[in-house]
Symmetry: C2
Subunit: 344 residues, 2 copies
């Protein structure tokens, strides 16, 4: 006798991610095959499908959060998941484009334990491969029936993404204190642009292709944006206090790179002498461990986690405000949990 649907345990977030990745993969492969062979190889290398030179391999790719959001966005609107596949392909292509270009801007030489594309293929080719992915993303969406309306969403998210990245680059040149310091609201706007815009766009685009009414599209966009900020905040906490064995990043990495992350900014703007002491330490060559302790003492870690919780709650509020299919909405919630509660 077959178990009733209600008796089936809700899928875990990794199961949701796997299901969506499997659904999107053939279309993503087909899309990448349309690229110039050289550009296609760089794209396939980025996705973890091949080595430099094109030999097939199964290297770790990304989690595929954006493609999952697109599929779930369509399903939450009552359409089959396949309705969201073109949106999923478009947002994965855009995400990969942004990784390629960001790695050049940030001078990062490894990603997922392999050389970055610009390290492996050269800066010029990596710039061009990013451009190719960008053009392909827009083309994929533009030629999908019903996708033309989504192009505006996608290009506007792209604009926000660039805006956030530009702010992030400029933050590096600003002082820790004084009138030119980075304010918390500026950080939020940067994180929303750099991380939230494309997550929101993914879910919203899926909903558009799934035939959702405008309020549902807007709600999913907002949910994705808050998810992005929450994700970035958790990432900031892990970048200072995370276990390198789990995060795969060096201990205190963000402090060594002198990144203007939320915990540091919150600690610096806290009342009391701790903030001033921290500022002095940040401006010196002191060990990052010293700064980490001062940030924690000044309440920076707690402030970041509180802020992450506020944005997680805002995701819930956005999702609860519109009618969504129960199953996909639960999948969205388990994905959210997985992304912002990891390792904490």
């Amino acid at each position: 006798m077959t178990a009733l649907p209600s008796a089936v345990a809700a899928p875990t977030a990794p199961q949701v991610l796997d299901r969506c990745r499997a659904l999107v993969r053939p279309a993503l492969v087909k899309s990448v095959e349309r690229l110039h062979p050289w550009m296609g190889e760089m794209a396939a290398y980025s996705f973890g499908w091949c080595e430099v030179g094109g030999a097939p391999v199964a290297a770790p790719g990304g989690k595929g959060v954006r493609q999952a959001l697109a599929v779930l966005g369509a399903e939450a609107a009552g359409a089959p998941g396949r309705a969201g596949v073109a949106a999923a392909v478009a947002v994965e292509l855009v995400h990969t484009f942004s990784l390629l270009h960001d790695d050049i801007m940030d001078g990062d030489s490894t990603r997922r334990r392999r050389p970055t594309v610009w390290k492996a293929y050269g800066t010029g080719p990596a710039v061009l491969a990013g451009d190719a992915l960008f053009a392909l993303a827009v083309e994929t969406l533009a030629e999908t029936p019903g996708g033309a309306g989504g192009v505006r969403l996608l290009s506007s998210a792209l604009g926000d993404l660039v805006h956030g990245q530009a702010d992030d680059l400029l933050f590096a040149a600003r002082p820790w204190t004084g009138p030119e310091r980075v304010r918390l609201h500026e950080y939020r706007a940067m994180a929303e642009g750099k991380t939230g815009a494309l997550l929101g766009c993914a879910a919203a685009l899926g909903a558009v292709l799934g035939g959702a009414p405008p309020p549902t599209v807007t709600a999913l966009d907002r949910a994705g944006r808050h998810l992005g900020i929450a994700f970035q905040l958790v990432d900031d906490v892990l970048g200072i206090w995370g276990d390198p064995a789990v995060t795969g990043k060096p201990v205190h990495g963000d402090l060594r790179e002198r990144k203007k992350t939320f915990p540091v900014l919150a600690a610096l703007s806290s009342p009391g002498p701790g903030a001033r002491h921290l500022a002095t330490v940040l401006e010196s060559d002191a060990e990052p461990a010293v700064a980490a302790e001062l940030i924690e003492d000044a309440g920076g870690r707690t402030a970041a986690l509180d802020e992450a919780r506020r944005h997680t709650a805002a995701v819930e509020t956005a999702l609860a405000a519109v009618p969504l299919e129960a199953g996909p909405a639960n999948d969205l919630r388990s994905l959210l949990d997985f992304l912002v509660r990891r390792d904490l």
Copy 2:
């Protein structure tokens, strides 16, 4: 007494370019103002509107061929020129994006006698500014009434542009002779992608916004593509035999950079001993002047000019095949003349 319209002399190409630039300028300025201020400054610097730091200046910008084609495309379809302005803005933004990124890939440090954007602002910021212009171009078109249909044209032209640039980068690594040599048909495909696709797209997009029927859109696209190839061929001839005082480029510049241009490729594939002699010279460290003479002797210059004439004729054929408004069609023809018959 006022002269009758028929008595008015047809405008010259520079007059056509000036008129279109003046029509497009306010919308282009408004569009650039929507960018992140830092990205907007890099865009304004590229357009020749400001110096590094933002101080206003009137430095030489581009001729504005693409914006003119978009305006004339709309007018040729019987619409007022202003109907093509959004298309003009989109293609100028895309053109500028491609200049920014190409200068990085080619390592070029000056453009129009000023430092290139990556030289003046850094590679990372120049990559990002290009991305910002790209996103803005798509957004501009997507939010224009009737523009959604044009997004597919634009993204497909972008794909061709990247394809052509990728081929051009790969040509550099290929030998002058042997089975791996660059064939003339590969050169044509490269030039069509790198130069023709966006020129064709400009005229076609203008026509789309001007309400032209599909055959007119296709004809203008084809005309622009042939114009692009012809333009590239003339550029190749000038790059070897042009007067540096007129071109602003060093004498024999393309030969010094060992570029695989049409005259060289045609000379190498000519029958007779001249081709073999030329190959030996190209593989040696001989003076570019020696190679230039051998290329001319082997018929490379004549072949390039003949080929340019064939593509110019193909532009005429494409324009003659569809009904176009007489005035704008004549403006298109005078622009064509101006672009491919300059200084020859």
